[in-house]
Amino acid sequence: MSRQILDLVEKSSIKPEQPIFSIGDTVDVHCRILEGDKERIQIFTGVVIARSGSGSREMFVVRRIVQGEGVERKFPVNSPRIAKIDVKRSGVVKRAKLYYLRDRSGKGVRLRERRVETK
């Protein structure tokens, strides 16, 4: 009973159109950034290495390499501050959490691309 009520409450905080992306995808995360009254969109590009949580609390981690240094950002999937999530490329992965990418550098970071068949 209580779970249903919580789901009802969370429903209002969940985006009506859930962004579709999966682990191993290279994505562009468009974040809204408020500077005074002005709103600006900043794009964070990287590989989705983890998703966690459920409902309105779902989060995902994007990893990218900036100037040879690994940078990870964790975003809420349903945050209104995330304008859009664009999938640029899908990688072939065999696990749900790609933490092993943290230990790799250079060419080892690359993931094999998953080709989606289109008719």
């Binding site: 009520i5 009802l8 409450v9 969370e10 905080s13 609390r57 945050s79």
Partner: protein
């Protein structure tokens, strides 16, 4: 100030506010509550409104609980009626599980009327009263946030103990009120001035910022705050 309301803690979750900020909220199923009785200065010596929350099956309710919400056909009532004692009005609802009084002026409330969350629609902050989770007999570290003792440097077997509990010959006793191990939790606790995040009249839900005492499913009392 609004009367107040009775409810049940549903659980915690997270919502996004207008600015897109994620806010931790506690969901409370608040009301609808029946007005069971209105206490007046003349009759009872003080003014209060008695509210009841959640119907209880009649077979589980005691006779007195049934008599509280509806007129029973009893010898005593007949005797009192014959003696000219006027019985107060009855709400004519099911027996209630959770009944509490609010020391406020009735302000147009009638016995039998329902009070809903919409009374908090314009309210910014409320006080929430609950019974904290019982933790049983606990040590001083958990109960009073004592620091305990060191893991090494000669400390043996007393790593989670308190230190000294007083002085020597003078006064030769332990001060009253010295914090020690003992029963912790399962006591009434009021969290004052909790911000109201959202009021959902349709589903009788009240969302407040942050935590509320008690387990999920525990009964809570919600009232307007005087701390602003």
């Amino acid at each position: 100030m609004a009367t107040g309301l009775l409810g049940r803690k549903v659980g915690m979750t997270q919502i996004y506010d207008q600015t897109g900020q994620a806010v931790p909220v506690t969901v409370i199923q608040a009301g609808p509550c029946h007005v069971l009785q209105i206490k007046t200065e003349a009759r009872d010596g003080y003014e209060a409104v008695q509210l009841g929350y959640l119907d209880k099956p009649r077979r589980l309710a005691s006779r007195s609980a049934r008599g509280q919400v509806a007129k029973l056909d009893s010898k005593r009532q007949k005797r009192r009626a014959a003696a000219g004692v006027e019985a107060g009005p009855k709400p004519d609802c099911e027996p209630q599980r959770f009944i509490r009084e609010f020391r406020v002026k009735p302000e147009g409330l009638q016995v039998g009327q329902q009070v809903k969350v919409d009374i908090f629609a314009e309210v910014k902050a409320v006080d929430v009263v609950g019974i904290t989770k019982g933790r049983g007999f606990t040590g001083v570290m958990k109960r009073h946030n004592f620091a305990g003792q060191r893991a090494s440097h000669g400390v043996k077997k007393v790593h989670r103990h308190a230190g000294s509990i007083g002085r020597n010959t003078d006064p030769g006793r332990v001060d009253k009120g010295t914090r020690m191990a003992g029963h912790y939790g399962n006591e009434r606790c009021t969290i004052r001035n909790i911000k109201v995040a959202r009021v959902d009249v349709e589903n009788n839900l009240l969302l407040v910022h942050g935590a509320v005492p008690g387990p999920n499913g525990g009964y809570v009392i919600i009232r307007g705050t005087n701390k602003l």
